[in-house]
Amino acid sequence: MREVTVRDALREALREEMQRDENVFLLGEDIGRYWGGAFGVTKGLAEEFGDDRVRDTPISESAIIGVGVGAAITGMRPAAEIMFGDLSALAMDQICNQAAKIRYMFGGQASVPLVIRTPFGAGVNIASHHSQSLEAWFMHTPGLYVAVPSTPYDAKGLLKTAIRGSNPVLFVEHKLLYPVKGMIPEDDFSVPFGLADIKREGSDVSIVATLNMVHKALAAAEQLSKEGISAEVIDPRTLTPFDKQTIVKSVKKTSRLVVVSEDCKAGGVSAEIAAVVAEEALDYLDAPVKRVAEPDTPIPFSPTLEKFVIPDEKSIVKAVKEIVSKN
């Protein structure tokens, strides 16, 4: 095992898959030799694999994804980068109407092995057009997979699965997680889709969290343990496919559920997870499900405003205490 950042883990996955399969190529805005991507994930790859396989594009999000679709259905394995997740809105037709539906509407004739990497998340004061968490849009689109890694291990392993698979994947990277470090194995490995990971075991409450919220939830669990509350922290790792079993099993054990998600509450990730538990394990719950999510506002700019809307350790601790009473 060795320690790497999420950024390095992602780059390793891309590099190793490009070495393994010559049909894998990258395209996106400023991902090539001058920038290596706005967050530096693809740094060095153009030098190693050439400009043909690490293609800088014009600022044309719709064409980036459309080109990825066209290449994917004709034998290639493109991994496209959308510089900020918010800009996926510009490519929404190609992602949701084309990539996600081509296999289905053509009766299974085609596969669309297209990975769309994009950073979501707030916390660096870049306001409403560069900070959103839009996972729910893509969870609501059958035909797409949605990966949401929180650690270097999951980032590398899930990205490998995404590139090797035969389906379009919206691969979410949280921009605050790029420098976060963690251990990964020396040897080749991958992480399957649809398998949640219990990041911390506990018995009093289940906290389901994704992306950067996993780290906030772990910090909250640590705080709660000092107060005698044992929290289990579960990271679904992919929202589609979604591992209901692990979460339902945990809820059956703890009888309490807090769902933490950085997206806004209405129609959000937390709503879907709460609904799944309501359908499948309501009888096991001893308290109402608590959701910790962003309020239904755009992401504001000023640090005081932005900090207010992002769920934090304190808000998670508070939510847990509202449904867990320990003396």
């Binding site: 994804i65 080109v67 066209g70 290639m76 009766g107 399957p192």
Partner: protein, 326 residues
């Protein structure tokens, strides 16, 4: 010079498209076609003139008005008709319908019902060809209405700057649904927009199949040589309304009559007679053969079962590979 056999085959394809579309229209009137239809009648010279330059393993992308593209690229009539009728034996097992027919085995990469969405996808297929180092070509069909979409700009610009083997074929039938071109564009020729991307733009009479063929020939060969894309604008006219029973009241009678006089099949037939490639008797025989083919396809489709309701749950994902089994 095109060989006589090829000319006759092109004529047969145009006839096939026409009679196929007339049959679809007839079946629609009998409530046998679910949903809607967008007929290609009147535009046959475009699909046939372009596809006559393509190999079986070349690619095309198509539109909501796509039956003609399918037939010209070599799709089977029976599976096409079955798909339009929503049957299990259709190309897409009844999941796509008239607006989403695809046959990947002949490089027909599918019809999209989002206007203009096929343009960047065609560019992507072109990039795939370039990266894999083959000499295939993509023909991308779309209407003049699609040229006002952002995807037209983004997709053609990228194909141009990367020198991709794509032939962009604009079927200018003058109307985007009911909106006449002059109401939404100050230019007369969509091909003028090619200048903005630094690629050749050509305007041709889209009802003259030989003119379309010649323009497409130059563009396809150029693409095959790796010299990049071309934008071909084919001036044509849809003889029916936009969809279903659209009476097309937005078109004046004189305009319709003028275009009906320029019917692409009548024009081509006349030329073939003049050239001595086809006789009247042969033409009449061919009509009977083509009608028989269309009737056979229709019989196949009508006798085919509808999909099982639960089939709706299949084909969402390619496989469960890489996913934890639950």
């Amino acid at each position: 010079m095109i060989e006589n056999l090829k000319l006759i085959e092109m004529y047969r394809q145009m006839l096939t498209i026409r009679f196929f579309e007339e049959k679809v229209f007839e079946l629609y009137g009998q409530n046998l076609v679910p949903g809607t239809i967008h007929l290609y009648a009147g535009e046959e010279a475009v699909a046939v003139g372009v596809c006559a330059n393509l190999r079986k393993d070349d690619y095309i992308t198509s539109t909501h008005r796509g039956h003609g593209h399918c037939i010209a690229k070599g799709a089977r009539l029976d599976k096409t008709m079955a798909e339009i009728l929503g049957r299990k034996t259709g190309y897409c097992k009844g999941k796509g319908g008239s607006m989403h027919i695809a046959d990947f085995s002949i490089g027909m990469l599918g019809a999209t019902a989002v206007v203009g969405a096929g343009i960047p996808i065609a560019t992507g297929a072109g990039l795939s060809i370039k990266l894999r180092g083959t000499d295939h070509v993509v023909a991308c069909f779309f209407g003049e209405g699609a040229s006002n979409q952002g995807t037209f700009h983004e997709g053609i610009n990228l194909a141009a700057v990367w020198g991709l083997p794509v032939v962009f074929v604009c079927e200018n039938n003058l109307y985007a649904m009911g909106t006449r071109q002059s109401r939404v564009m100050l230019i007369q020729n969509i091909a003028d927009r090619a200048v903005a991307y630094g690629i050749p733009g050509v305007v041709v009479d889209g009802n003259d199949v030989l003119t379309v063929y010649e323009a497409a020939h130059v563009a396809v060969e150029r693409a095959r040589r790796g010299e990049g894309p071309t934008l071909i604008e084919c001036k044509t006219y849809r003889q029916k309304g936009h969809s279903r029973f659209d009476p097309a009241a937005y078109r004046v009678k004189e305009e319709v009559e003028t275009w009906l006089k320029k019917d692409p099949i009548t024009l081509f037939q006349k030329k073939l007679f003049e050239m001595g490639v086809l006789t009247e008797t042969e033409a009449q025989e061919m009509v009977q053969e083509v009608k028989k083919d269309v009737d056979g396809a229709t019989k196949f489709a009508l006798e085919s079962p509808f999909p099982e309701p639960e089939d709706a749950l299949e084909d969402v994902y390619a496989s469960k590979e890489g996913t934890a089994t639950k």
